[in-house]
């Protein structure tokens, strides 16, 4: 597996690589993660990183040929191998969907357009070198089609520890999982709670990425929704996480343009309805409005309405939740299929 890593930063990509390595090992193969360090600034150095990746030789090791290379992240996936398959987590987003947006920074550099062109052309030319190109989600595939006009197939994988999640009671709280930061937009939920007609309760679960943002949320919830309606659970143990999923009324997940998002899958595995937003990206690949959850506009008012609806009609919440579990089963999300594609 070829991936790129920003040293000392661990996130979903690293966990995915490790899960994949473990599953490949379980399937009876030998797998190794090759991580190349990546620094995205100054932009002028990015082409040099790309060249360095091209020059990495992974064709054989110790006299034994390496049968298959799976490329995961830019620019590591550019390395040469006759039997390369890509499973893209994402491309270099600053050159694509984040270009010109506040979240990107490449376009703010004098040589931004130049480096962007170098990245796009190299991707467009070299991604097709691979025997097959998969992505982790429809979202990533759409971007690859839109920006590079390249075909690819989304290949879903189960969230870590999927087998341990299961349904429980439909309790008197919504679960709001995921790390707390602006891109996940927990403030929409906090503001919606202040607008609900019912005394809706919510448990926010996840570590604070951004202390200032989190403090602001906490202060606002103390002011607007007092009386223990909001609980800040923070980072929790795996057991507690599973239990919180099992006994909630439903799951609220309102990120902006998420690539994939384990939360919706975890909710479905726990037989819970998912409340998400029309611009949330990844969750929309799994949540069907009024079937296994509610897809609403990204506004506190719309969100409050959705929460009120499920709070007031608990049978509906149960119905959506069970439909979600069924949908997960129907989508055949599992490592067997993933490995068959990546190793086939």
């Amino acid at each position: 597996m070829l991936t790129a890593q920003v040293p000392f930063v661990r996130g979903g990509a690293e966990m995915l690589a490790e899960s994949l390595a473990r599953e490949i090992g379980r399937a009876g193969h030998q797998a190794e993660i090759i991580s190349l360090p990546f620094r995205w600034y100054p932009p002028a150095r990015i082409p040099e990183h790309m060249l360095a990746c091209r020059l990495v030789d992974v064709e054989e090791s110790n006299g034994v040929p390496i049968d298959r290379v799976i490329g995961l992240k830019f620019p590591a996936y550019l390395a040469r191998h006759p039997n390369k398959v890509l499973w893209l987590l994402h491309q270099h987003r600053g050159a694509y969907d984040l270009w010109g947006t506040e979240l990107g920074d490449l376009h703010k550099n004098p040589d931004g357009a130049h480096v962007r062109s170098a990245i796009q052309e190299a991707d467009t030319r070299l991604i097709p070198e691979a025997r097959a190109c998969y992505t982790i989600s429809r979202k990533v595939s759409e971007r690859l089609r839109r920006f590079c006009d390249l075909p690819s197939t989304p290949l879903y994988h189960p969230p870590p520890g999927a087998e341990r999640l299961s349904g429980g009671e439909y309790g008197d709280y919504f679960l709001v999982p995921s790390r707390i930061n602006r891109a996940k937009r927990q403030h929409l939920v906090v503001e919606a709670l202040a607008l609900t007609r019912n005394p809706v309760r919510a448990v926010f679960m996840g570590a604070a990425d951004d202390a200032g943002y989190t403090d602001g949320l906490k202060r606002a919830s103390e002011r607007d929704t007092p009386g223990g309606r909001v609980v800040w659970a923070g980072a929790v143990s795996d057991e507690r996480r599973i239990a919180l999923y099992a006994d909630c009324l439903g799951v609220v997940f309102t990120p902006w343009d998420e690539d994939y998002g384990y939360v919706s899958l975890e909710a479905m595995l726990s037989s819970k309805a998912v409340v998400t937003c029309a611009d949330s990206g990844g969750p929309l690949e799994f949540v069907e409005d009024r079937v296994n959850g509610i897809v609403c506009e990204p506004s506190p008012a719309a969100l409050a309405e959705a929460l009120d609806l499920l709070w007031g009609r608990r049978n509906l919440a149960r119905e959506y939740g069970q439909a979600g579990r069924q949908r997960y089963r129907d989508m055949d999300i599992g490592w067997e299929k993933t490995l068959a594609c990546l190793l086939g």
Binding site: A44, E102, K108, P110, R182, H187, D210, G212, Y213, G216
Partner: protein, 523 residues
């Protein structure tokens, strides 16, 4: 890395392009449409690579007995970061002033090495490779490296005189635009000579004014030595303040230079020389003041008790709470316009003082937090149930996540800041604001001469009057959009002059807006 094409070397003269498109390409006598360009072949790049390597070798030969580069030992850094091993150098005479000209003509690691030799009298150490790399990558200019070495502890101890370095170093540092790799100094030039002369004249005026101000400060410090309430420690502090004022003046000048950009190098040098002289005056004044100083510690210890004093002062001069709130209400539509005051885009008020503004916002259900250095003030705010924290405004702002604020406000705060801190405040605010967010910094308006010449100085903690054309220009230079001054609080009086035009001019000078707010948006 730094160029596409190198000079032809004798060894690769005419043959290197053989086979890759001949002269017919693109140069047909009657072709107006651009011709297709032949593909770049790997063989071309091989030639380019060999050429680069040869070139680096001929121009900057890795010399020295240690064989740092070019020998069989692999070197760890890029070639430019390895220094030639020590070789016999003629002993530098550190007592003579250093002529910058020949030194500035040197390049890369060679330049850095000579900076060390000239300013420290020794061969460079590991830190020098940092400088060399920074120079090569354009992160630092030669001037900045010179200044960095000369004004390091070791450089100060060595004390080599470098005429003209300090003001130029300050100019460069004060107005460095980080995003531009190389600090090039090219005139804007396009508008031609008459404009140049005009700007030069304006500069000269600014300098005369600056000199007058410095002289005034020096005189004032003499007075104060005799004054009962100031005492000698205060005189020393005053001298210290004069030095800071000088730094600010230099920066201010630099800002004008960069903005107008139409000064010739000679003008810059002559201005720099003037500054040298000015600086000498200040140093002299400081020395005299210091001779009378009882001790610096007392001043520091007094700082906290001064907080209470400042509160008392504010009570006296800034008017009643309701009046202030009424005046500040003019900013509410602006907050609405930039969507500030929501949970996602809160307002941060730096130097929140007694929290009139915070209270006003809270009354309107807007989310805001204040920060103030003065603990007494912060306690006061908290007592009123307002969200305020004690701390340094710029540091606090620096810890706020990027893009997370709807507005950054500050009432009568920027005139208390050293110039560089003001610039940092702008930078941090720009970083912390969400797109479309705004800054509002209200400050006394020195365009009103009564404010500029007298009232401003009623507050002993004020540092420099901040003319609006300067703050607007700087806000723009730091990356704000639509920066403009919003004039506030005219006295409402007017001159009863026979000559109406004259009367109006005098009204503008004496009874015009006493404050203004610097308003600017994050793009």
């Amino acid at each position: 890395m730094n160029e596409g094409t190198r000079p032809r070397l004798p060894s690769d003269a005419p043959a290197d392009r053989a086979g890759s498109g001949n002269a017919s390409n693109g140069a047909g006598a009657s072709a107006s449409q651009p011709m297709p360009v032949p593909d770049l072949q790997a063989s071309d790049l091989v030639v380019e690579m060999i050429r680069t390597a040869l070139d680096d070798r001929t121009v900057a030969p890795p010399s020295g007995s240690g064989g740092a580069a070019g020998g069989t030992m692999p070197s760890l850094g890029p070639p430019t970061s390895t220094f030639p091993a020590a070789r016999p150098e003629t002993r530098r005479d550190m007592s003579t002033p250093l002529d910058l000209g020949p030194l500035m003509a040197r390049q890369g690691a060679d330049f850095v090495r000579h900076v060390y030799l000239e300013l420290l009298g020794r061969e460079p150490d590991d830190h020098a490779s940092f400088y060399a790399a920074a120079l090569q990558e354009g992160r630092l200019s030669k001037l900045e490296i010179l200044g960095g070495v000369r004004f390091s502890d070791e450089g100060k101890a060595a004390g080599r005189a470098v005429p003209g370095l300090k003001p130029r170093f300050l100019l460069t540092r004060a107005y460095r635009v980080p995003v531009l790799g190389r600090a090039l100094r090219i005139g804007t030039a396009a508008a031609g000579l008459p404009a140049t002369l005009r700007h030069l004249q304006r500069m000269e005026q600014a300098f005369s004014a600056a000199e007058a101000r410095m002289a005034g400060l020096a005189a004032a410090s003499g007075e104060e030595r005799r004054a009962r309430m100031d005492g000698e420690a205060e005189a020393a502090a005053r001298a210290n303040k004069m030095e800071r004022a000088l730094t600010a003046l230099v920066s201010e000048t630099a800002s004008r230079l960069d903005e107008r950009g139409k000064l010739t190098d000679d003008a810059v040098v002559s201005l720099a020389d003037k500054l040298d002289a000015l600086e000498a005056t200040v140093a002299e004044a400081a020395k005299r003041a210091a001779a009378h100083a009882a001790g610096g510690e007392a001043a520091a210890a007094a700082d906290n008790s001064l907080d209470a004093l400042y509160m008392a002062f504010e009570d006296k001069f800034r008017g009643a709470r309701e009046l202030i709130k009424e005046r500040q209400a003019v900013y509410l539509p602006l907050l609405e316009e930039c969507g500030a005051g929501t949970l996602a885009r809160p307002v941060l008020d730096v130097g929140c003082g007694r929290g009139e503004w915070l209270e006003l916002l809270r009354d309107r259900d807007l989310v805001a937090r204040g920060v103030d250095l003065n603990e007494a003030m912060v306690e006061f705010c908290r007592g009123m149930g307002l969200d305020a924290v004690a701390g340094d405004a710029v540091e606090h702002l620096g810890a706020v996540p990027a893009g997370s604020l709807g507005a950054v406000t500050g009432f009568h705060i920027i005139e208390h800041l050293p110039f560089k801190v003001f610039v940092r405040l702008l930078d941090e605010a720009l970083r912390a604001l969400a797109p479309g967010g705004a800054i509002v910094f209200e400050t006394p308006n020195p365009d009103n001469v009564l404010v500029g010449s007298r009232n401003f100085y009623l507050d002993p903690t004020h540092r420099n009057p901040m003319p609006s054309d300067m703050t607007v220009m700087i806000a723009e230079a730091r990356g704000f959009d639509r920066a403009h001054p919003r004039p506030l609080h005219p006295t409402g009086q007017s001159f009863n002059a026979e000559d109406k035009a004259l009367g109006e001019r005098l009204d503008g000078l004496f009874y015009g807006p006493q404050d203004y707010a610097l308003v600017a948006w994050k793009p």
